[in-house]
């Protein structure tokens, strides 16, 4: 069974439990630990398969969903954060045109993690690459090292951040694969928002998951596979 489903069920179970507690007020209201109390493990490797053939030119739904979910301004100046962006490509020789979303590729061997002096850049056991903003000193070396230009630096003070997505001035940030949603058993916002279902999210380590079955049967590549980073995000039809 798909791990997303497992997690979703777990979440439902705990939510129902929490609701039951709420119905009987005064009892155990805060004594029961609920939520995800187990550490994430490397039995799961979260990944995405992006079907560029279905990714519509000019469609920005994934980007807008990301901005809304994570509380980004959506501004496009060179100092604004962009966790996901649409890139329009044109083959220089053949003239073939396509469009795709680009974000943190959640590498297994991420250069950003290697170069970070404080260990603020790190990969979670389940393959999600994050910045621990409590440790980030804002040196921006990870931005120099990232082959995908996936990271942004917060250039000015922010207000009204989302409770689930803390962000702050002077630290580096990037796509978190919506870790706060994934931990609740939900899909990343971009995957959910895509009108053509071009972003398939799932567990690469589970041979039975939809994403694993699909990458076994259709041709897909990692961007800059020559770098040997083993990205968690793969592209189809590139």
């Amino acid at each position: 069974m798909n791990d997303t489903n497992v997690q979703r069920r777990q979440f439902l179970k705990t939510s129902v439990g929490a609701a039951a507690v709420a119905i009987a007020p005064g009892m155990l209201l805060f004594d029961m630990a609920h939520g995800k109390t187990e550490a994430v493990s490397n039995k799961v490797r979260w990944g995405m398969l992006i079907d560029t053939a279905n990714c519509a030119d000019g469609c920005n739904d994934c980007v807008n969903a990301c901005n809304k979910e994570n509380g980004l301004s959506g501004g496009l100046s060179p100092t604004d954060s962009q966790w996901i962006r649409k890139i329009e490509l044109k083959d220089k020789l053949t003239g073939r045109e396509l469009s795709l979303p680009m974000m943190c590729q959640h590498c297994e061997n991420p250069p950003c993690v290697d170069v970070c002096p404080t260990g603020a850049s790190f990969g979670r056991a389940d393959g999600i690459v994050l910045v621990d903003k409590h440790l980030c000193i804002g040196c921006r070396y990870c931005m120099m090292a990232c082959p995908y230009k996936a990271r942004s630096f917060v250039h000015e003070a922010l207000h009204d951040q989302k409770p689930d997505v803390p962000r702050g001035k002077g630290t580096v940030e990037s796509c978190t694969m919506c870790v706060h949603r994934v931990d609740k058993g939900l899909q990343p916002a971009c995957a959910e928002a895509c009108p053509n279902k071009s972003i398939l999210f799932g567990n690469l380590n589970d041979p039975e998951s939809e994403i694993s079955r699909k990458i076994r049967t259709v041709a897909s590549i990692q961007v800059r596979a020559d770098l040997g980073l083993n990205t968690g995000v793969r592209y189809q039809g590139l």
């Binding site: 000193i137 082959p147 917060v154």
Partner: protein, 394 residues
């Protein structure tokens, strides 16, 4: 002031200069404070040009700090008396410039108040983290070296300490070069030639800084530099400049030969606007050809020419670093080789950057710190080179 005796006038002038240096440092600190208050939005840096003017200043100061020690190494390790007399001054300059450079680097962080995290949470795979050890170790090594030279009872240790400093600064400059050469995906960086290039460049820049400081001290104290010493040091600087130019030429020639790099070279050397201009005029002409004429042409080569040559070498150094660091980032990162790309995040386009006042002032503040440490150091301790009287040959 006209009725002051020359000595008192000089003392006053000294205090004015120190106060000026202090003022520059204060302005630099204020700029850093503004950057912390408002965020990096008040600098020219952005998500495409991640490192800018502060890094040009910081890396220049750090490279020169390592290179200036060449003077002491030639003296202590290779036993040249003319250089031995200058070793303490070189050590002081090294500490001063290292302090200036590191301060700039630290104050440019997004969260400078958290710099202690770099010590408590140490990522062993990070070149940056290695450099934190290398820089602090360098301070310790040079201070120890100075102690062995200035304390009579420690004289015996001077040579091993000098040797340690020699090795340490080689590793340190390698570490500084490696910060860039480990960036595999950036067209401008990601090559193993950068560390040795930085080392050779450091010799030239360090020597240039040393010449300027030495000439100033001699002029201040109304001393005349021995012509023989002047000639030796001047020619050595010329040699280093030629060697550095050779490394820079090799770097670009290699890139020109790789088909995948030719677009980048076209940008940096021909079409990139300010970057080719700075490279050819700033680095090649002002930083190399003119100084070489001033050093080697028989009509020049006197004190004034050497000072002018040194200043030009420093200007060339800043130009080269600006081209390498800022120009290297301005050229678009190749994420999809073979494709023309465009996006809202600057993919496929030249990154725009113009240095803002706060970052320039922060960089100058670092130079101010180096000046202040040097000026005060020379005043309170015995750093002025004293010529060892020539013994007649037997």
């Amino acid at each position: 002031m006209a009725n002051l005796s020359p000595l008192r006038f000089q003392t006053r002038l000294y205090y004015v200069l120190v106060a000026l240096g202090g003022l520059i440092v204060l302005i630099g600190l204020y700029a850093a404070h503004m950057m912390e208050q408002h965020g990096h939005i008040i600098t020219g840096m952005n998500n495409q040009i991640v490192w800018g003017t502060p890094h040009v200043f910081a890396i220049f100061l750090i490279i020169a700090a390592s290179g200036v020690l060449n003077v002491s190494s030639i003296g202590s390790v290779f036993n040249k008396p003319a250089y031995k007399a200058r070793a303490p001054l070189a050590g002081l300059l090294s500490i001063a410039m290292l302090a200036g450079g590191l301060t700039v680097l630290m104050l440019d962080l997004g969260r400078p108040e958290r710099v202690i995290v770099a010590a408590t949470n140490y990522n062993i795979t990070s070149v940056f983290a290695w450099n934190i050890l290398l820089y602090s170790g360098m301070f310790a090594a040079v201070v120890m070296y100075l102690w062995t030279m200035m304390e009579k009872r420690m004289k015996a240790w001077s040579k091993p300490a000098g040797f340690l400093v020699l090795i340490w600064r080689f590793i340190l400059t390698t570490g500084t070069g490696v910060i860039f050469s480990f960036l595999v995906v950036r067209q401008a960086f990601g090559t193993a030639i950068l560390p040795p290039m930085f080392i050779v460049i450091s010799f030239a820049w360090g020597m240039a800084v040393f010449h300027i400081v030495q000439s100033s001290i001699y002029a201040w104290n109304l001393k005349i530099l021995d012509e023989y010493v002047q000639k030796r040091m001047r020619n050595l600087m010329g040699l280093f400049v030629i060697a550095a130019l050779y490394f820079v030429a090799t770097y670009h020639l290699t890139n020109l030969y790789f088909a995948k790099q030719t677009e980048f070279e076209q940008f940096i050397l021909v079409s990139g606007g300010v970057y080719p201009l700075l490279f050819w005029v700033g680095y090649v002409l002002v930083g190399n050809l003119l100084p070489l004429v001033l050093i080697y042409h028989p009509a020049f080569g006197k004190t004034r020419s050497v000072i002018a040559a040194s200043l030009l070498i420093i200007i060339g150094g800043f130009s080269l670093l600006y081209v390498l660091i800022v120009g290297g980032q301005a050229f678009p990162l190749s994420i999809f080789p073979g494709y023309e790309v465009s996006s809202s995040f600057g993919d496929g386009f030249i990154g725009q950057y113009s240095p803002s006042m706060p970052e320039i002032l922060l960089g100058l503040g670092g130079v101010g710190i180096a000046f202040l440490i040097t000026a005060i150091g020379i005043r309170v301790l015995d750093f002025v080179p004293r010529e060892i009287p020539k013994t007649p040959l037997k």
